[in-house]
Assembly symmetry: C2
Homo-oligomer: 515 residues x 2
């Protein structure tokens, strides 16, 4: 068995059964090895941003890492943006990058670059396998590193000679990964004291605390103490909908977030960071809570937030029976003109049970949170790192992870263009993804920023840079060009009909929603 | 004038008149400043790989840098692959990356990452402007750095507060950039001695020596001494066709390159590196010349290769009147089935005078070099860094640089998918680009590698990873979805008719060539 096969077998033994790949010559021994390792499913992306975003979506839904397979520095570069996003979501990924043979690097052939330096920008763990006999141990260490709480990207660089040379016949088992550490008792007692002090308090949740169980515990605490719950602005995964504890996320616009936070004198952070502005703006603060607000960390991202909430609920004698949960608020799908509000109302009615919602709807979707609280139970996955072009790839990974669930991608047009190649993988793998492509032909968020900077005097030249409607993109053609059936809707009646039809059918569909 | 305007004006004063851009919130002050700086043309790409590849193509044709405008670390990451390629072509680029406000970075908001570390992987010069008053001096230094021979990427990171704060009213002029240094006389005398020794000698050319003037000098030397000329395997720009000195480039496959080089006992390098294998393969050498061959550097990449050739020609008393030049070898366009050979024959006839040929045809185009020697005079631009996805963006930049010349992009399908968004910019700017999209539905180069590794026993699972034809991409739909008229041809007659028609018309066209 050569190093490449040793790697593939170690991955499988270590619980990594899916590899999202865009291989090149230096990875060809790994591809050849796949023939002999039947348990590894390998899924091709036609661009590396698809591969890395899919690995993110897969792990968010499976709670265990997928592998990637990327081609030298430029392949890793193409995958950078969605690895950045994954790193901000604390997603575990075993990120495999092929490199030149060790002895070949010194000759500086065209594809040579400093892969380790590039990988370290977003990886929590980086290692180059120096020879074939090290590969299995290195791969096992990479899996363990990726799974170390709260999850991180472990980049393993595989030189071509380490792949093709004969390796050991035995595989290294993955070292035991420590469970998330529990929070110190002080953290819980202080939280309990703050919650009993009678001051307006926000419990700000992130990570695992946003699954149903964590939310139920947080909901009991909120009911008992009068504290309010919110999720941080961008989250890897929230379990929500009917029967779950209602929770909204902090708004993205700085002024809105400051307004929301202004009522709180105390913040208790559960896996979340203190709220900061996404961008700085002249004359606006970076930190969004009231300056005098007391901010207390109940649990850090790597700590066990669910357990901390359980402990805190015990401490406060908070009980699940007083829990407020979402009930159906459905008032029928919206009709008439397509607007963000109408889309939110229709989504609330039409989201199928157990759907996985991928949200890269940007400005169109800013209001979707509230109405969809009353939708059928579902998961909601957001862009955690702010690098646009995550939506379509994330949908690929989620659909591979959960073949029996419908994936609904809420996708803005500007962002969708970054990684549109993901549609091809959806078609190739017959993934059950319905993409709602919101087509407003503009970078609307940026237009708002430009107007606020430049005032009414800004002219067409500057706005032109934010106008992606000259020429208009035809998403139905783009989608069909990659094998995904597409259609375009221009009224809410058409939308409701098309979306209901897509939900009933199987396989990838794209609905271009004209706004 | 704020820092952003100071930057835009310094660029214009420094001869940088085009900015390829994909801006975000942190770059919005620069976008707003464009309104007040009429001399700066700003061209939008819907993905950063388009932006950086276009800047490469522009500078290759203009011999002066364009600017890019990218959005924080992930924007730079998306642009990485084509910046890698540009760095290997020694292309001058002023690469501008917006960042968070200096005081905001510490809060680690979602888009925060180590931009400088990322930039250093491919940049010859990297600097962060620390305040608005430094911006003009930093921009002037960036232009000078980019233009320093042989050309490099200068990355200037612009924090948002350096952009929006009031800057100085005066602009820093670009420091004088030293001309390419001349080679030492020893280098010329040694070359002359080697060429007079009667041993089989290859003069291997790269960079500026591949323009018509350098080639004519090299051709005179070759005629006088019996040396053979070749270009290195991948080149930024070669002036070729009828009336120019015939030159082919070293073949990509290792065995072919070794065979070509086996006849030479001496290599004289003019701006080129000693030939190395693109990838290492088990049992094959990294260095491709005969081990005992004497390798002499006439000029390094940063030295003046044209002048070195002139000096050497003088030394050898080599005269232009003995020059062999290309004459027309056109025997009529090919008919019948579409094959790489037939395409090469038709290209030779149909390439319009003064065309700019962008070559990312990969396996399909391996044989295009010889027949097109006899085509009308043209420039030939290759992928210098091996990261695929350069072709369509490079065509954008070349067309912007030379609006009165026809750009012909020879584009493989697999590579084209990486940056297909470039078609939209071609449509938006009405660029005169004809893309010949060679559609074989496979990563053919990789299939060859896999077969050579795994032999006849390799099964469908591994080949599936290299098959991009499940489902087939419909390039006509993809092209039209982005506003570029597309058509598909399946015979050489159809090809000849479609290509001749595209050459006669103006504006972007895509012809999908079924192979």
């Amino acid at each position: 068995m050569n190093g490449a096969e040793s790697l593939a077998r170690t991955l499988v033994e270590g619980g990594v059964h899916v590899c999202f790949a865009n291989p090149g010559t230096s990875e060809m021994h790994f591809v050849a090895a796949l023939d002999r390792v039947k348990e590894m499913r390998c899924i091709l992306g036609l661009f590396e941003g698809v591969v890395t975003g899919a690995a993110d979506g897969y792990a968010r839904m499976k709670d265990r890492p997928a592998a990637t397979l990327l081609h030298l520095g430029p392949g890793l570069g193409n995958g950078f943006a969605n690895l950045h996003n994954a790193s901000k979501a604390y997603t575990p990924i075993v990120n495999i990058v092929g490199d030149h043979a060790t002895y070949h690097r010194r000759y500086n052939s065209p594809l040579t670059s400093d892969i380790e330096a590039l990988a370290r920008v977003f990886s929590g763990w980086t290692r180059t396998s120096l020879d074939a006999r090290s590969v299995s141990a290195d791969a096992a260490a990479a899996i363990a590193a990726a799974r170390t709480s709260p999850g991180q990207i472990a980049t393993l660089i595989l030189p071509a000679d380490a792949a093709w040379t004969e390796a050991t016949d035995w595989l290294t088992p993955v070292p035991k990964v420590a469970a998330s550490p529990r929070v110190p008792s002080d953290a819980v007692r202080t939280a309990a004291k703050l919650l009993s002090a009678g001051k307006p308090t926000l419990i700000l949740l992130a990570g695992g605390a946003l699954r149903a169980e964590g939310l139920a515990l947080a909901g009991s605490i909120a009911s008992k103490t009068g504290a309010k719950l919110m999720a941080q602005a961008f989250n890897g995964r929230i379990e929500r909908g009917i029967g779950r504890v209602p929770i909204e996320w902090l708004p993205y616009p700085v002024d809105s977030a400051i307004k929301v936070l202004s009522e709180f004198r105390q913040l208790i952070l559960v896996g979340a960071a203190a709220p900061v502005a996404f961008f700085a703006y002249p004359g606006k603060p970076s930190l969004l809570a009231r300056p005098e607000a007391e901010i207390h960390v109940l649990s850090r991202p790597e700590e066990d937030g669910r357990h901390a909430l359980e402990w805190l609920a015990d401490e406060l004698n908070a009980r699940a029976d007083s829990l407020k949960i979402n009930s159906s608020t459905q008032r029928g799908a919206a009709t008439g003109t397509v607007t963000p509000e109408a889309l939110g109302a229709s989504l609330a009615v039409l989201l199928p049970e157990n759907a996985i919602v991928i949200d890269e709807s940007i400005t169109t979707g800013r209001g979707f949170s509230r109405p969809t609280q009353g939708a059928a139970p579902h998961d909601w996955l957001q862009n955690t790192g702010g690098s646009i072009g995550i939506g379509l790839p994330l949908a690929v990974g989620a659909a591979v992870a959960c073949p029996d669930r419908k994936v609904i991608a809420l996708q803005a047009d500007g962002s969708g263009m970054y990684t549109l190649q993901a549609l091809w993988t959806q078609a190739r793998e017959a993934l059950d993804v319905t993409t709602l492509l919101f087509s407003n032909h503009k970078y609307v968020g940026l237009r708002n920023v430009l107007t606020s900077i430049a005032g009414p005097n800004v002219t067409a030249k500057a706005y032109d840079m934010l106008d992606i409607g000259k020429p208009d993109l035809d998403w139905v053609a783009l989608s069909q060009g990659m094998g995904v059936p597409g259609m375009r809707v221009e009224t809410m009646d058409e939308f409701n009909r098309a979306f209901a039809g897509a939900v009933k059918s199987q396989g990838p569909r794209l609905i271009e929603v004209a706004l």
